[in-house]
Each structure stands twice: as structure tokens, then as C-alpha cells.
């Protein structure tokens, strides 16, 4: 096997793997830019993966076809928004500490998804999932075509969301408000921005993206649902936001780094290079710790990150 072939294997597998992390991490980036540290991303992804999977599962013998998948993504986005609202109620309105509340939401979301799955479906069942959509012309470019232009349509949409997020954050007045309430909520409040409202909006957007990230896992990547499908990707997405220094391009780079590590590990097994399976599974989690240790906050994140805003208090 040539080196080029190996690189091709890793890249063409790694690019679609990155999408679930990318969607969730972009959502988490909006949350954190608005000053809310949402560890509940794990729970949002779990429940998104389940409700996204449900229409395709129920319609697996019908003729709904791709509409079931589309409906799944829409449902996942709505459920994600609702969980974002719940998190807003707890951390923005009730001003509860965000770290512990996030763990609570992660447990709640994972638990609800698992409970409903056990009741509605019972065991692991596959669905057809979203089919690949090679882009005419471009997908026939040697090497690059297979790496970039021969995936399911969600991959293209997700990567278009990276510049779109950058535009939203840096070129629109809503993005300015988000950054303001995450950096200096009191100043934003003085200028007449409703801090809590903007935070709620960011949480809903982040929740919708997280839910769709989950649906991507069940509909496009694994094409099935299981209790432990998300397996910490929600937490990894939170770490990616730190790694990507709260910028969409940084987040995308982080998501790619992780998925390439994962596809490298899978490729090694395919090529017959043997090492204990458990250590292969461990790799991404070890990588998160290493990455967090190396990417010390040289550019500081949103200054009001993790702190609830209270108009009645002076500090």
C-alpha cells in the first residue's frame, strides 16, 4: 500500500467523522461566547440522536425515504432548542452554577434518551440512513474529490456552517450582542441589551446545533442508535471550543484533528496493525487531555464565561 493510499483512507474517513463534533462544538461556541458554559451538550446530543433516529426507524418500511431523515434532523433541532431553554432557565434565570447544572443536564438527556430507546425500540436496530451525494464533477477530482466531495449532504452543510458562524458572530449585530454579553454583560446591559435574552437565544441556537450533531451520529455516521452512542462526544465538543479558542475555524480544525485521530486508529486496524482494542478506544479521550494541557489560554476566552448576570448585584 502506498503512502498516498493510506493518507486517502484516513482523510476520506476522517472528514465525515468530524461533522457530529463540528456541529455540537459550533453550538457550544455560541453558548460560551454568550458567557454560558454548557456541559449539558452531551445530554442534548444524546436526545438529539434518539429523536433524530426515531422517524427513520418508524418509517423504515414505508416510502417516506429521505423525508424521514429530514424530519429527524428537524425534530432533533427542536428538542435541542428545548433543552437549551431548560438550561437557560436553570443557569440564566435561576443563576445556578453552570458546571454542576451542565452535569445534571447531561445525565437527564442521556437518561431520557436511553429510557425512551429501551421502551420504544429495545435493541440495536439499523436504519438506511442518509445516502452519499457525490457532487457532480468535483467528486471526480483525483484524491481531493473523494476526500472532500463524496459524502452525505449534511457534511457539506456542516462545513458551510463554519464561515456562516463566523459571519453571524463577527458581522451581524446579533453576533456583536452575543460577544458583548459574554465579555462584559454589565456594559451590554447599560447599552440597553437584554443580557439574559441574548443568552437564551444563544443557548437555543447552541442546543439546536447540538441536537443536530447527535442526529448526525445516529442517521449518517452509525446509522443506528444505542444508549452509549454519543460516548462523551458532547464533552469533547466542549473541550474543542477551548482548543479552537472560541473561533469557528479553530473549532473546525479541532474537530478535524479528532476525527483524523479516530480514523487513523480505525485504519490501523483495517491494515492489520495489531494493538489492544481498548487502547485504541482510549486514544481520543487521552488526546483531549493532552490538547487541553497544551492549549493554555494564551488568548483568553469570553471574560464573563461561567458567570450568571444579576442586574441587582453590583459585582
Amino acid at each position: 500500500m502506498t503512502l498516498g493510499q493510506m493518507a486517502y483512507d484516513i482523510l476520506s474517513l476522517g472528514v465525515p467523522f468530524s461533522v457530529a463534533l463540528l456541529l455540537a462544538a459550533l453550538g457550544e461556541m455560541f453558548n460560551q461566547r454568550a458567557g454560558v458554559f454548557n456541559l449539558g451538550c452531551e445530554g442534548i446530543m444524546s436526545l438529539g440522536a434518539f429523536v433524530g433516529f426515531l422517524p427513520a426507524y418508524l418509517a423504515r418500511s414505508g416510502s417516506l425515504g429521505p423525508w424521514a431523515d429530514l424530519l429527524g434532523f428537524a425534530l432533533a433541532a427542536v428538542v435541542g432548542m428545548l433543552l437549551g431553554l431548560l438550561f437557560g432557565l436553570v443557569t440564566v434565570t435561576f443563576r445556578a452554577p453552570q458546571g454542576i447544572a451542565g452535569i445534571g443536564l447531561a445525565m437527564l438527556g442521556t437518561g431520557v434518551a436511553g429510557t425512551l430507546f429501551r421502551h420504544e425500540i429495545g435493541g440495536v436496530t439499523g436504519v438506511e440512513g442518509v445516502a452519499n451525494l457525490p457532487i457532480p464533477g468535483l467528486s471526480r477530482i483525483p484524491f481531493l474529490g473523494g476526500v472532500l466531495f463524496n459524502h452525505n449532504p449534511v457534511v457539506y452543510v456542516a462545513f458551510l456552517l463554519v464561515p456562516a458562524s463566523g459571519y453571524l458572530l463577527h458581522r451581524t449585530s446579533w453576533g456583536l450582542r452575543v460577544r458583548a454579553v459574554g465579555t462584559h454583560p454589565r456594559a451590554a446591559d447599560t447599552l440597553g441589551i437584554d443580557v439574559n435574552r441574548v443568552r437564551y437565544q444563544a443557548l437555543m441556537l447552541g442546543g439546536a446545533l447540538g441536537g443536530m450533531g447527535g442526529a448526525y451520529l445516529s442517521l449518517c455516521q452509525a446509522k443506528m442508535f444505542a444508549d452509549d452512542l454519543v460516548a462523551g462526544r458532547g464533552f469533547i465538543a466542549v473541550a474543542l471550543v477551548y482548543f479552537g479558542r472560541w473561533s469557528p475555524w479553530g473549532v473546525a480544525a479541532g474537530a478535524l484533528l479528532f476525527s483524523l485521530a479516530q480514523s487513523l486508529q480505525l485504519s490501523l486496524q483495517v491494515w492489520g496493525i495489531r494493538f489492544p482494542y481498548e487502547f485504541a478506544v482510549m486514544l481520543p479521550y487521552v488526546l483531549v487531555i493532552v490538547v487541553l494541557a497544551l492549549s493554555r489560554s494564551r488568548t483568553i476566552g469570553p471574560t464573563a464565561l461561567g458567570r450568571a448576570f444579576n442586574r441587582e448585584m453590583r459585582v
Binding site: 435561576f94 443536564l105 437527564l108 425512551l116 462523551g232 466542549v238 479521550y285
Partner: protein
């Protein structure tokens, strides 16, 4: 505002929070076609029907007490240890490893050695996150969550490889579990015919010691000061980073000890799913118990009841085991929300005004 109103206000907030959590759980139960009332009744009263059920509650409360004590130490010190689940697993591995390495050693040496090995293993695993936070400012929630996943893989690897019971390989069934531990390493049973073991006494003694540590020693004061306000603590000359590392070592140590006690007291061999979520349940127990040993012990017994009751609903009514996570998640969200309202003087004032409007000249102003 009088003390009576304050107490009334706190009770009202907690009642609303409990109601909200119960509503969320009831909605999920409705969604899977189970009757919420019947389920709650089974969970809360089922385990109390006979002697075995009651001892099982205490069996479950032992790891919960131990882990929650560690969680309380870490939360009080301003470092959120979410990694108890992984620390428990490492504790199990270390205790099992020692017991199987020197099975012929006399009981008075072997048993304490196993317990200490478990605690040290957990402390090491927790200490990684503590050092990373203190030296490199790595968010401890993320690092401990990742260490949980790593520990889970390491645990499976050890049970499938180096620690596997040779009998499993001979019969070819290949169940990932260790050999049975030597009898001299078992914690003795307190009530014959049940699984209640002397780990309960150990947990109660340690609860007292944690109270002494946190409220009667300089080290404990330094840790609590670091948690209450790191800037003020640093200004007062407290080495906050060191407090964080010590807190994580202790938190990990307690979780590792819980793992060792569980394997030496209940299962007598390392098997898969030994922890079954004690690490996360203990976070809820610690918060529920107000991060204080005197609250943690009753809270752990209450959650022991919930866990045994949830098992019963799973067997009798087919309610999925994941329901426990729903319950715990809802309780966490309710507790943290309620705590902010109980502590917020402005919210209390608003409540008093609101009450005064309905009860003119009533006790609200008293």
C-alpha cells in the same frame, strides 16, 4: 424578615424544586406508558418491605457515602470532581491486584493493604486532574470526565487480559472477570444471610473524620478558603494550587476506597459493571447532603433506597434502568436552582412582598 419567614421561604423553594423534579420524571414515565404514582410508590416503599431490602439499601449507601465524602471535599475546595466513576474502577483494580498478588498473607495485613491500595490508586487517578488544573489550568470537569472514559477502557483491558480468571480461559467462556479473591481479604458480613458488610462502619467513621478534617484542622480550613474565594485565600497566603491538588487526591482516594470496599465487601472479585453509576449518583448525594458529612450519610441512605427501589421497578414493571439517570439529572437541576433562590436575599424580599400583598399585616413582615 424574621427567622420564621426565612425557614418558610426555604421550605417553599425546596418544595417547588422537588415538585418540578418529580414532574419531569413523571412526564418521562408517562411517555413510556408507566404509571408515575405506582412507580414512585414502589421505589419509595418496595425496598422497606423486608429485612433483606433494608440491608440492601445500606449496602448501596456504603459506596455512596464514601464517594460523596470525597466529592464534598473537592466541591468545598473549589474543584469539581466528576471523575469518581473512573477513580472507583482504578481502586477496584488496585485492591484486586494486591489481593491476588499476595493471597497467602495474613488477614490483619492483607485486608488493610488492599483498602490502602484501592485508596492510593483512586488518589493517583484523581491527582492527575488536580495537578493538571493546578499547573496547567486544565478545566477539571473536562479532564475528569475524560479520565472516566480512559479508566473504563483500562478496566476492561485488565479484566480481559492480565487479570482474567484462568478458569474463564480454560472453559472458554471468556467472561471478563478476575479470580475470586482470597477469603482473608473479604470484609466480614454484619448480618448473616445478607450482603451487609463492615464497610458501612468504615464509611461512618470516615464521615466523622472528614468533618474533623474540614472544620477542625488548618488543612481543611485552607481547602475551604480556597473554594470559597480563591483570590482572598491567595491574598491571605494560602497556597490555593496546593489545596486543589490535596482536595483532588483526597476525593480520588475516597472514590478508590469505595471501589476497594465494594469489591472486598460485596462481589469478592472484579467484574464488569461493578460500579453501576455510583460515581455520578454520589455527586447528587453530596449536593443533596449539603456537602456536609452529617447530611451526606442520610442522603446516601435515601439514595440507596432510590437505587434499590429503581431495581425493583425494573424487575416488576419493566422500567428501563436508565430511568435512574433521569431521576438523578432532574434532582441535580432542581437542587442547584433551589439553592440559588434560597440564598438570594433579593428573591426572598420579593417573595415576602408578594406574600404581604395576599396577607395584609400577615406574618410575612414579622
Amino acid at each position: 424578615m424574621g427567622r420564621r419567614f426565612r425557614a418558610f421561604y426555604a421550605a417553599a423553594v425546596i418544595a417547588v424544586a422537588a415538585l418540578a423534579a418529580a414532574t419531569v420524571v413523571a412526564l418521562v414515565l408517562e411517555a413510556i406508558g408507566a404509571s408515575p404514582w405506582a412507580t414512585f410508590r414502589v421505589i419509595l416503599t418496595g425496598p422497606l418491605q423486608d429485612r433483606f431490602g433494608i440491608t440492601e439499601i445500606l449496602v448501596r449507601s456504603v459506596p455512596l457515602i464514601l464517594v460523596a465524602l470525597g466529592v464534598a471535599i473537592s466541591f468545598r475546595s473549589g474543584i469539581l470532581n466528576i471523575g469518581a466513576e473512573g477513580q472507583i474502577l482504578i481502586g477496584i483494580l488496585c485492591a484486586t491486584g494486591v489481593a491476588l498478588a499476595v493471597p497467602e498473607w495474613p488477614r490483619p495485613v492483607l485486608l488493610p493493604l488492599c483498602l490502602v491500595a484501592g485508596a492510593l490508586g483512586g488518589a493517583l487517578w484523581g491527582g492527575i486532574a488536580g495537578v493538571l488544573r493546578a499547573k496547567l489550568d486544565v478545566n477539571e470537569i473536562l479532564s475528569t470526565v475524560m479520565l472516566n472514559y480512559i479508566a473504563a477502557q483500562l478496566y476492561t483491558f485488565m479484566l480481559r487480559g492480565p487479570l482474567i480468571d484462568p478458569a474463564e480461559l480454560m472453559t472458554g467462556s471468556g467472561t471478563p472477570q478476575s479470580m475470586r479473591l482470597p477469603r482473608s481479604a473479604w470484609l466480614e458480613r454484619l448480618v448473616p444471610g445478607t450482603r451487609l458488610h463492615s464497610g458501612l462502619l468504615l464509611a461512618l467513621v470516615l464521615a466523622g473524620l472528614v468533618w474533623v478534617l474540614l472544620w477542625r484542622t488548618t488543612l481543611g480550613f485552607r481547602m475551604r478558603a480556597s473554594g470559597a474565594g480563591s483570590k482572598a485565600a491567595r491574598y491571605a497566603g494560602i497556597r490555593v494550587e496546593r489545596s486543589l491538588v490535596v482536595a483532588m487526591l483526597l476525593a480520588g482516594g475516597f472514590a478508590g476506597l469505595a471501589g476497594a470496599v465494594e469489591v472486598l465487601g460485596v462481589h469478592h472479585r472484579a467484574i464488569e459493571n461493578i460500579s453501576s453509576g455510583y460515581g455520578f449518583a454520589a455527586i447528587v448525594v453530596a449536593l443533596f447532603g449539603g456537602l456536609h458529612p452529617a447530611g451526606i450519610v442520610p442522603a446516601a441512605i435515601f439514595f440507596g433506597l432510590l437505587l434499590v427501589g429503581a431495581d425493583m421497578t425494573q424487575r416488576s414493571a419493566g422500567i428501563p434502568a436508565n430511568m435512574v439517570l433521569v431521576l438523578q439529572g432532574a434532582i441535580i437541576l432542581a437542587i442547584v436552582s433551589a439553592r440559588m433562590y434560597v440564598d438570594d436575599p433579593y428573591a426572598r424580599q420579593r417573595a415576602a412582598r408578594l406574600l404581604g400583598r395576599f396577607l395584609p399585616g400577615g406574618k410575612a413582615g414579622a
